[in-house]
Symmetry: C2
Subunit: 233 residues, 2 copies
DNA sequence: ATTATCTATAGATCTATAGATAATGC
DNA sequence: ATTATCTATAGATCTATAGATAATGC
């Protein structure tokens, strides 16, 4: 139950896997992380890496520990040895991917950076892959609950600091919601033309539309009640 | 395999279920639709109704046919008799809920109507419940594929007709994406303050921000490349 | 006699665990 | 001797089906 703190190490070489369980077709074990035999640290990192990819592709429920083990090129039992449970593995995957970007980006660039992360190819690890994991696993009621919500709160809080409006947090969350929705359409649904549109074009539209929402103090039209886009100037 | 075309009938009375499988705690069979014994039409409708609720609550994968049967107050085997498979049941649930609103709403009111549907309590059947089903089941790769995408296309197409821009379809899909994202945050994630915010307030923000995106022909700032909200007037 | 409903179960998963095996460090 | 890894399997699901039962219509 206790696994003596293992950090992922370097990510260099590559090597054929030794023994092995059954692999499904699209399972290519050990993409980036080297597979030295009997290297606990490396094995753990390989599992974490593979889990990110499989969760992102299939979602939490549909992904099986055997899928993950297969892609990592390790035995399925090691997942439980190193992470305890499938759920704990998901938690760790998300925690790792999410914090990464938040700390290293200044607030006023956070939204665009995150948006561009969503718009980039959802292949590489980090924020964009974590978003795919999030989107595909979100339906599973209690799968990713606290980790994910907490992370969202942090992003929203950082964004909210940009606005002086009294409902700045709401505004920030609306912006985050748009970001998630765009990710949903592109990464998960793949609806055209959005799915293949240029990141720059999407970015232009979204940032223009959000500009006043995120920066202004005054609400452009706030007589709450009948708010429609019918009225032309 | 062939089940002689049954329409759901009226929705009035209520009655205690007769025989019965095991029920989980929060399973209250037969909310709206009456349960006359040996009424195939009614039983089918009850299953459809219960499926909408359970799929919306738990998502496609986590929902089991026994959950659904339990809530409908019918035997689990009847689901396969009337719908063939769990997947076919999902398809029918979504198809029923989605088309409902699209036909009966004029295009220029479609977005606000749909948005207000998302913002309303996700309890009652129809669009808002279908959206919850969608959001919670979307991670399941091929669960709701064609029905859902086709429906989204129709909505986007109707919206796109409002704009004269050459990328009007992209703009419309961006708007739809926001709508989905907001639904995701409220219905599924339940992140505050967004989850409890007044529909009118959210509507005001969103419609204001989207106004130019959906109506204008010219793109406010379209030199695709470096588009940031840094530049203040 | 027809047909809606129920019982019982096949068959295929999937997570998780217990304990055997084998490669390293001493 | 330590510990990373593997084998084998318990135990708990879940979808789907085959066939029995029982309520209606004639």
């Amino acid at each position: 139950m206790d696994t003596s703190e293992l950090d992922p190490g370097e990510h260099q070489r590559r090597q054929d896997r030794p023994g092995g369980g059954p692999l499904s077709e699209d399972t290519r074990p050990g993409e980036d992380i080297p597979h030295r035999p009997r290297d606990a640290r490396g094995t753990r990192a390989r599992i974490l890496h593979a889990a990110g990819a499989v969760f992102a592709e299939r979602g939490y429920e549909a992904a099986t520990v055997r899928d993950i083990a297969g892609r990592a090129g390790v035995n399925q039992a090691l997942i439980f040895r190193y992470f305890g449970s499938k759920k704990a593995l998901l938690t760790e995957v998300m925690a790792q991917g999410g914090k990464q970007q938040l700390g290293s980006t200044p607030p006023d660039r956070l939204f665009e950076t995150a948006l561009r992360g969503v718009l980039a190819d959802g292949g590489k690890p980090g924020w964009d892959r974590m978003l795919a994991v999030y989107l595909r696993s979100i339906g599973s009621a209690d799968a990713a609950p606290d980790t994910v919500r907490a992370l969202g709160e942090e992003y929203a809080a950082a964004l909210a600091a940009l606005s002086s409006a009294d409902d700045s947090k709401l505004r920030a969350q609306l912006a985050m919601a748009w970001l998630l929705g765009i990710g949903l359409m592109r990464v998960v649904v793949g609806q055209e033309p959005l799915a293949s549109a240029e990141p720059d074009e999407i970015c232009g539209h979204v940032l223009t539309a959000l500009d006043s929402l995120l920066r202004d103090g005054e609400v452009p039209g706030d007589r709450a009640g009948e708010q429609r886009p019918d009225e032309r100037p």
